[in-house]
């Protein structure tokens, strides 16, 4: 299927990955970052891209979510989170900018999210998290795509939708405007944005989806091992989609934020264009076998997944 291969090779992830990170057990880290106490008394370092661009964390959600958030996710106090209630007129301008971020990152791949879907599927039932700042501090290639208006612009986002069972969240559509130029910074900011989402929501289990060729695969792989629930999803716009789940405890978040991605090791490399292999793996999963995503081939947007049979 050459057409399919070309199509999915450029598709960014519209994938949920929800996590239940609470901060317990996080370890202190290495040099270069501030260590801040969380509400749970666990240190978390603030992170590199966020610090270097002077970014602020933001949330789009209805007000009652505040009671369910960790007291100090990644060291940020709750009142440091810039909060946008989707049911209030004052949030409109920021939501417009968020739609622009989605347009710039997912739009070229035919995965732009309709504004009503933002509202119905994420903002009302769940939340969006991300980092924002002044465009004047953004890299030049990002500034060129945005107005120089001095407003707070979201640079990255991650969507989170609650799932049926308590403390389980689907986390998806991780993206950032740093993707407009190839490099590793967009992967790092993806990791930091996902980590913020997980640390804030503290789920016991997170689900995620991503295309096997997704530029965000390396970001997700920082949280490996991931239990792969499906390798081939005909119901999705792009059938070559990976559905996975993991339990994002504080140690895993800490590791994702600060340890380099292991780009070598065990596992078979998944070819996103090999439909036969993807459907064969799907058949084995449906027959009861367990598949784990254990890493990625590189720490860039070009990464491919490494998987092995057996529990994560």
């Amino acid at each position: 299927m050459p057409g399919l291969a070309r199509e999915i090779s450029v598709v960014p992830s519209r994938a949920p990955c929800r996590s239940a990170a609470n901060a317990r057990g996080a370890r202190a880290e290495r040099s270069g970052c501030a260590i801040l106490p969380t509400g749970l008394g666990v240190p978390f370092r603030r992170v590199s891209i966020v610090e270097s661009l002077s970014l602020e964390p933001w949330v789009v959600a209805t007000p009652r979510l505040v009671h369910r958030l960790a007291a100090r996710p990644l060291g940020f106090r709750r009142d440091e989170l810039r909060w946008f209630d989707p049911m209030r007129l004052s949030s409109t301008a920021f939501l417009d900018r968020l739609e622009r971020l989605d347009e710039l990152t997912f739009g070229p791949h035919g995965l732009r999210m309709p504004r009503w879907a933002f509202y119905d599927c994420v903002e009302l039932p769940g939340a969006l998290f991300g980092y924002a700042g002044s465009t004047r501090r953004f890299p030049e290639h990002v500034r060129g795509a945005l107005p120089d208006d001095g407003e707070l612009w979201p640079l990255s986002m991650c969507m989170a939708t609650p799932m049926v069972r308590p403390d389980e969240w689907l986390v998806f559509s991780i993206s950032s405007l740093l993707e407009l130029e190839p490099g590793t910074d967009s992967v790092r900011l993806g990791v930091e944005t996902l980590a913020l989402t997980l640390a804030a929501l503290g789920p016991k289990r997170a689900f995620g989806t991503m295309q096997w060729s997704s530029p965000s695969l390396a970001a997700h792989a920082h949280f490996a091992p991931l239990a792969v629930r499906a390798t081939w999803v005909p119901a999705h716009t792009h059938a070559g989609t990976c559905v996975f789940a993991f339990e994002p405890d504080a140690g895993r978040i800490e590791h994702a934020l600060h340890a380099p991605l292991s780009t070598a090791g065990e596992g078979v490399v998944v070819d996103p264009e090999d439909q036969l292999a993807l459907t064969a793996m799907q058949g084995r999963i449906e027959a009861g076998e367990k598949l784990s995503l254990v890493g990625a081939t590189e720490a860039t947007r070009e990464a491919k997944a490494r998987v092995r049979w057996g529990r994560a």
Binding site: A15, P86, T92, A117, P125, G126, V164, T209, W232, H236
Partner: protein
């Protein structure tokens, strides 16, 4: 156990319920709500590749019902936004029991041999326990009058909310939506927003309503159902965006309103919606 007996008795006589959800979610659902069990064969796992033909029919049902209004759901939104985190509950009929014109409307493949979905209610759990977001209610009843499906939309939503074990439901719809007449059968709908720029269509309202068996029965057009009918304080014309903005401002300043009854049709896609005031909250709003 409360049982459903909708006025249009042929609905339950002809149709069979289905649910789409991943396996562990189905364990949390009541798959025999109102004493109406969902057959194992009609419990669809979106993570199974073999479910694809049925899920494609749901997409076609969405296109046939919402597509004309310009809000068809992309496939990935169906999956990421509904099938994976929440659930889809609906009613269908065996392909052999449907008129050829119905099958044509839904573009059912000639070799399809299974349940053809005729309605669906998609809901997503919220971050508050037992509160569900009603995302999509679709019924083929208006498109296929020869099938005798009057009341299918309300029945589907009532049954779905019971399957999800929802205690409260929130939702978003447009002031000119004919679906308001269905939603309000649950009883007075508290307005959480009256003008919503976060939505593609700012003339969207957001509502919330507590649920009970009596309200669900009323929604399903079961004569045993009952809901309150508070007084009307004002009528909101679906084209009066200035009034909707004004109401939004008043809601943001702490006033409370509710839709208290069935809207009146006053023109093509134009409604007058009866609205009543609610007393302000005096204690903690936490529900």
């Amino acid at each position: 156990m409360t049982r459903l007996a909708p006025k249009n008795a042929t609905l339950l006589a002809r149709l069979r319920p289905f649910v789409v959800a991943i396996a562990e979610h189905r364990e949390a659902f009541d798959c025999a709500a109102f004493g109406l069990p969902i057959a194992v064969a009609n419990r669809i796992d979106p993570l199974c590749a073999a479910s694809a033909p049925f899920l494609e029919l749901l997409r076609r049902l969405d296109a046939a019902t919402f597509g004309p209004e310009g809000m068809p759901m992309p496939r990935w939104v169906f999956f990421d936004g509904a099938e994976l985190p929440g659930g889809i509950v609906g009613f269908g009929a065996p392909v052999s029991e449907l008129a050829p014109s119905t099958l044509t409307l839904l573009r059912v493949e000639p070799d399809f041999d299974g349940l053809v979905p005729l309605s669906m209610f998609i809901a997503i759990p919220t971050h508050e326990p037992s509160i569900w977001m009603a995302h999509n209610l679709a019924s083929m009843a208006p498109q296929v009058p020869h099938e005798g499906l009057d009341g299918l939309g309300g029945l589907t939503k009532a049954y779905g909310l019971a399957v999800y074990r929802a205690r409260r439901q929130i939702g978003a719809t447009q002031w000119n939506s004919s679906a308001l007449s269905i939603h309000v059968r649950l009883g007075p709908l508290e307005l959480l927003s009256a003008w919503t720029p976060a939505h593609s269509e700012p003339w969207t309202l957001t509502y919330g309503v507590d649920l009970s068996d009596a309200r669900l029965l009323n929604l399903a057009r079961d004569p045993a159902g009952v809901v309150d009918t508070p007084e009307v304080d004002l009528w909101v014309d679906s084209q009066d965006h200035a009034l909707q903005r004004d109401l939004q401002g008043r809601i943001e300043r702490g006033e409370r309103f509710q839709i208290v009854g069935k809207p009146e049709l006053v023109g093509h896609e134009r409604l007058r919606v009866p609205v009543g005031r609610l007393p302000p909250l005096t204690a903690s709003p936490a529900r």
